[in-house]
Amino acid sequence: MSDSENITRTHLPKGRSLWRDGLRRLRKRKFAMVCFVVVLIYFSLAAFIYLAEFFDWRIGPTLWAEQVGPSYAPPSSVNYLGTDIFGQSVCRKTLYGTKISITVALCASFISIAIGVPLGAIAGYFRGVVDEIIVWIYSTLSSIPYILLILAFAVVLRDKTIFGYKITGITAVYLAIGLTSWVGICRLIRGEVIKHKGREYILAAISYGCSERRIIFKHLIPNVFHLIIIDFSLRFVAFIHAEVILSFLGLGEADRPSWGAMINDARIELSRGVWWQMAAATAAIFFISLALNIFGDALRDSLDPKLRIQ
């Protein structure tokens, strides 16, 4: 054998990034992928409704206010999920509710990530006084029971005008949820940043004069990004449930159908034997929560560096 042949035959194995690897492992779990599809369906539905409202298409969910039958008609071949007190289609209302829930959860997620991640990174990186202050803030927030905190924020923020912009019901909800839920991600990021700070690559970056901003944004955050994604997917479910509770307590979107409002109505309706609104809303929440939970778990397992098979 000649030397050239030896050289061409030995090649370095292609490096696999965490992401590629994770994606590969994830795709192997069929059930998790099914769940991902379910999640996509919900998101697409919400996006579709936004589009439909923007372009004023009059189909299905946007026509939720139309009276399609008598008051409180049970599920039938005409109205698959029955009607509510005004004869509106429960089916359409449930579909419309997707938009509200997804919006709330998305906005709340963005707010909490937008607050939690930078704060966590700064606290973990700079330590010292800055760290103490940030830890103090989130310790304070976490000593108050979660529901209480959200309720209090939602009630207080309602109808307030900040910088000339009036906070309506649903905005108060996701502001309240977002402003109180960043603690978890903040702690997580802070812990990871502290761990990473001692690693060689950071020390190397510091030694050759990399600016702090660059270190944080170009090195640290990308390395903890997978944690953010996991947290996001798991938090999302909690936010949907939080919206339900807030709507139930009268703090949510009152004018348009939302799952929480439907369950709230159901409270009185059940004693009349009207179960379909309740069942529809619960089912809608159940499937997205289940799908997200399973997918989130799978995601976590896939991205867990300890479980990488080399």
Partner: protein, 312 residues
């Protein structure tokens, strides 16, 4: 040890201060002027001014010895919460509410902990099998159903339709009677998440080296679980359990609201909807104190259970 405790206690002071500051900012600054509402219909400007004076609302906010914030601070530290909007001393309300709240949350708490830890052990022993997967699935499913739906379905079927339990609180019922159904529902709804957590903890332990050694030595699963895994899993379990205790006092806001149980949770919801800031402040403060105290207890327990953890 004592120096550690003292240091931790000192650390709680800024937290408590933070809580007081937060409640003050939320309810006094952002919350708005409640004197108009207290004054009622047809009140003249005079009456409104009177009310502001009565409740100390016309004092400066921060920068004075007699400012609202200082008063807020003072009343909290001396546990003098004053009276609620309906003139009843707040301490009285709290005393009345503690009983029903605890009657609800304590059995629920014990039920959840005992059942989920036991089940977690069982599930861990059959890990990987079809039962394990089924158990996980049921847990996740349970976590995906909104809490409210649990309550509504439970109330509708078990109480209203089949009449097994009273539908709602009524003063002529004994505590055991009106608390039974909410406790059951609370346990059912809380099992999912807790079981999953404990299972994860157990499984993590089981992956560690010493367990592999034990199995290699030939010990059977049961012994491994009870003798080794459980003990070492105690740390995260205790953390979770002890940290849950402060929240027991507030009762379960939703369960109490639904079943009309006159506990602290119900008190909170009413206070929030009627903007009774005096009550809200008092309750938030108390729960924060409890939380902080129990955090300290947790840390001490840590050190007792696991000598490896240094008291730094």
């Amino acid at each position: 040890m004592t120096s550690y405790i003292i240091r931790r206690l000192l650390y709680t002071i800024p937290i408590v201060f933070g809580v007081l500051l937060l409640t003050f900012v939320l309810f006094t600054l952002v919350g708005g002027d409640i004197s108009i509402e207290i004054a009622g219909k047809g009140a003249t400007q005079e009456t409104i001014e009177e009310i502001r004076e009565e409740y100390g609302l016309n004092k400066p906010l921060f920068l004075a010895w007699d400012s609202q914030f200082i008063n807020h601070f003072k009343s909290a530290l001396t546990f003098d919460f004053g009276r609620a909007r309906d003139r009843e001393p707040i301490i009285g309300k709290i005393k009345r509410g503690v009983g029903p709240s605890l009657a609800l949350t304590v059995p629920m708490f014990f039920g959840i902990v005992i059942i989920s830890v036991s089940l977690a052990l069982v599930v861990a022993s059959v890990r990987g099998s079809i039962w394990d997967i089924l158990a996980v699935f049921i847990c996740v499913a349970g976590m995906s159903i909104p809490y409210l739906s649990f309550i509504l379905f439970g109330q509708y079927f078990l109480a209203y339709k089949w009449g097994l339990f009273p539908v709602f609180f009524s003063p002529d019922l004994t505590m055991a009677q009106y608390v039974a159904l909410p406790v059951l529902i609370g346990i059912a709804a809380g099992l999912g998440g807790n079981l999953r957590f404990y299972r994860t903890v157990m499984l993590d332990e089981m992956r560690s080296d010493y367990v592999r050694t034990a199995f290699a030595k030939g010990l059977d699963t049961k012994r491994v679980l009870f003798k080794h895994v459980l003990k070492n899993a105690m740390v995260p379990i205790i953390t979770r359990v002890v940290l849950a205790i402060p929240f027991l006092f507030l009762g379960s806001l939703l369960l109490e609201r639904f079943f009309g149980i006159p506990g602290l949770g119900y008190l909170m919801i009413e206070a929030i909807s009627s903007r009774d800031y005096f009550v809200i402040n008092a309750m938030t403060y108390i729960s924060a104190i409890l939380f902080v105290v129990f955090n300290l207890i947790t840390d001490i327990c840590y050190s007792l259970v696991d000598p490896r953890i240094s008291l730094e």
